[in-house]
């Protein structure tokens, strides 16, 4: 088995780490062994690049195919796939873009990539249940003090200094005429959530974002509201809470 081990070690280094060392024991048969191995190197790298392109169509559209291919090569070198299932491949693309020298001028790109990853994750995340509203209604006033909520399993949150929600929408395949987006016009807070089968992106104001992320981290409702009130003294939890319950974002409750 040592020989198989050596072959696979050198073969995978050649393909994934661009190593120059040719695995021993390969027949040339009219074509240089290096050229034969390059077929695999190209196939593997192209395959993984296409997987990234499918998950990150907006990043691809923003930077173009050629630049995206370079980002993908950098990604494969730094974070090779760790699973046979490619649904989990590509989660650190945002990080790689942020550290990629030639992408430094595109400050909005890492957050845009993170948004696309969250959309991808939400699409494949586990289905979740509906909140038991009658049970919630029966809680006594004392329990309210210790009431907390579970956020839908597909729920993801992102806050950015850039209008990435708008960038995402304007760069969908079916988007109408592209319009200019003023990057200095401020950031956004977004909720990514899949109530049924379709993933939606919901724009949140900062107070709602703070409250929801506090709830998602496991804080009780009272504690979450206190956090928000520290910066938004006028915050009223009633309207957003009603809305979150109606949209199915809160799937369960607990008494801490």
């Amino acid at each position: 088995m040592n020989r198989l081990h050596e072959t696979q070690r050198d073969f995978s280094r050649y393909v994934l780490q661009n190593s120059d060392q040719i695995p021993a024991g390969i027949k040339a048969n009219g074509i240089a062994v290096e050229q034969r191995l390059n077929i695999y190197r190209n196939n593997t790298r192209l395959g993984l690049t296409e997987v990234l392109r499918e998950v990150y169509p907006v990043v691809n559209k923003l930077v173009g195919d050629a630049f995206f291919n370079r980002l993908a090569q950098a990604y494969i070198n730094l974070h090779p796939s760790k699973s046979a299932c490619l649904l989990t491949f590509g989660g650190r693309f945002s990080e790689v873009i942020a550290g990629y020298k030639d992408a430094q001028g595109l400050a909005y790109l890492p957050d845009t990539a993170r948004l696309e990853w969250y959309v991808h994750e939400a699409y494949h995340a586990a289905d979740d249940s509906l909140l038991d509203v009658p049970a919630l209604a029966q809680l006594d006033a004392e329990s309210y003090q210790r009431l907390g909520f579970k956020v839908h399993l597909t729920g993801r949150f992102i806050a950015s200094d850039y209008p990435i929600g708008r960038i995402w929408i304007d760069n969908q395949c079916d988007a109408r005429q592209e319009s200019l987006i003023d990057l200095t016009k401020g950031g956004c807070c977004l909720l990514i959530f899949r109530p049924e089968l379709e993933v939606g992106i919901v724009s949140l104001n900062y107070a709602d974002y703070q409250c929801l992320t506090a709830l998602a981290s496991g804080l009780t409702l009272i504690r979450a509201v206190e956090c928000v009130i520290a910066t938004h003294p006028d915050f009223d939890i009633q309207p957003p809470l009603k809305q979150w319950l109606q949209m199915g974002l809160l799937t369960d409750f607990f008494i801490l």
Partner: protein, 292 residues
């Protein structure tokens, strides 16, 4: 045809019929249900349904009500010296329990080393040691899944000097010793035989007839490297005429075997895929009539 919204009683472990099916990609999910053009059965890539929920699984449950389903894996990395990925096996088993496929298949290849995946079908040296190793691995997998798996011959672009078996002899011997079935990909036979100068008819003759439970057909691309043609298994076009001819020869030997049309890149319309399946069906019928 069954109405798309009406959930029929699930047909548990519906066997894959000896007719032509189509490899289903998510873009064709809706058409496969509502179009009057139907394939005899459908095959999907198992790993695409390893997500925890949402549309992919729901869609697969929908089509399962209308079609016999086969699960085809591309990532088990059976031939890797790495340990078998238990998590992968558990996910596959859960999917099998949920979908109850007629067939479950994988590849004669390796695709990972040291925990990193190349997510590609890489060639193995065909030696006695590899054979013993694979028999153990397949035994482990079939034991865990509680069922037979089929193993598909790969397309390859290189050979090892230290192989002591031909690929077809190796596959045949592996199937006998491990009890796995064979998924004979006729396009891969054609591609590898052309690339390495093997004889395609000999290749097929080396495989025991009763071990072949499924056939694959797909398109390939011709590349020129160092002045020589190398065929690449790209699955991005119709089945080539040469592969149709080889398919007919294979059927004469093997009889009617469930046959799948694979087309994964540059996807055509659903109708074009079904038309390819209809063509395969005509050859299967001819073969059936000759046998009768």
């Amino acid at each position: 045809m069954a109405h798309a919204n009406l959930k029929l009683p699930m047909r548990a472990r519906t066997p894959i019929p000896a007719c032509a099916g189509v490899g289903l990609r998510s873009q064709h999910h809706r058409d496969s249900l509502i179009s009057p053009a139907k394939a005899g059965w459908l095959e999907v890539h198992s790993e695409n349904y390893f997500g925890r929920g949402g549309a992919p699984l729901r869609n697969l449950e929908d089509i399962r009500a209308d079609y016999p389903i086969s699960l085809h894996g591309v990532g088990m990395s059976l031939g890797s010296v790495d340990e078998l990925d238990r998590n992968h096996l558990r996910q596959l088993k859960a999917l099998i329990t949920c979908i109850e496929p007629g067939l479950v298949s994988e590849h004669l290849c390796w695709s990972s080393f040291g925990g990193s995946y190349l997510n590609d079908l890489l060639p193995l040296p065909y030696t006695g040691a590899t054979l013993t190793f694979l028999v153990t691995r397949i035994d482990e997998v079939q034991g865990f899944l509680g069922r037979q798996i089929l193993l598909e011959n790969p397309s390859s672009y290189l050979e090892y000097q230290y192989s002591t078996y031909s690929e077809s002899e190796f596959l045949d011997e592996l199937s006998r010793r491990s009890g796995c079935g064979i998924l004979l990909d006729i396009n891969n036979v054609y591609v590898s035989c052309t690339n390495h100068g093997w004889n395609a008819l000999d290749y097929i003759r080396n495989i025991a007839v009763d071990q072949v439970k499924e056939i694959h057909l797909a398109g390939h691309t011709v590349n020129t490297i160092a002045g020589r043609n190398i065929l690449i298994d790209t699955h991005n076009g119709p089945v080539s005429e040469s592969v149709w001819l080889l398919y007919q020869s294979a059927l004469q030997r093997l009889g009617s075997v469930p046959t799948l049309i694979e087309w994964d890149a540059d996807l055509p319309s659903w109708q074009v895929l079904v038309d390819e399946a209809v063509k395969a069906d005509a050859y299967l019928e001819k073969c059936y009539e000759q046998a009768a």
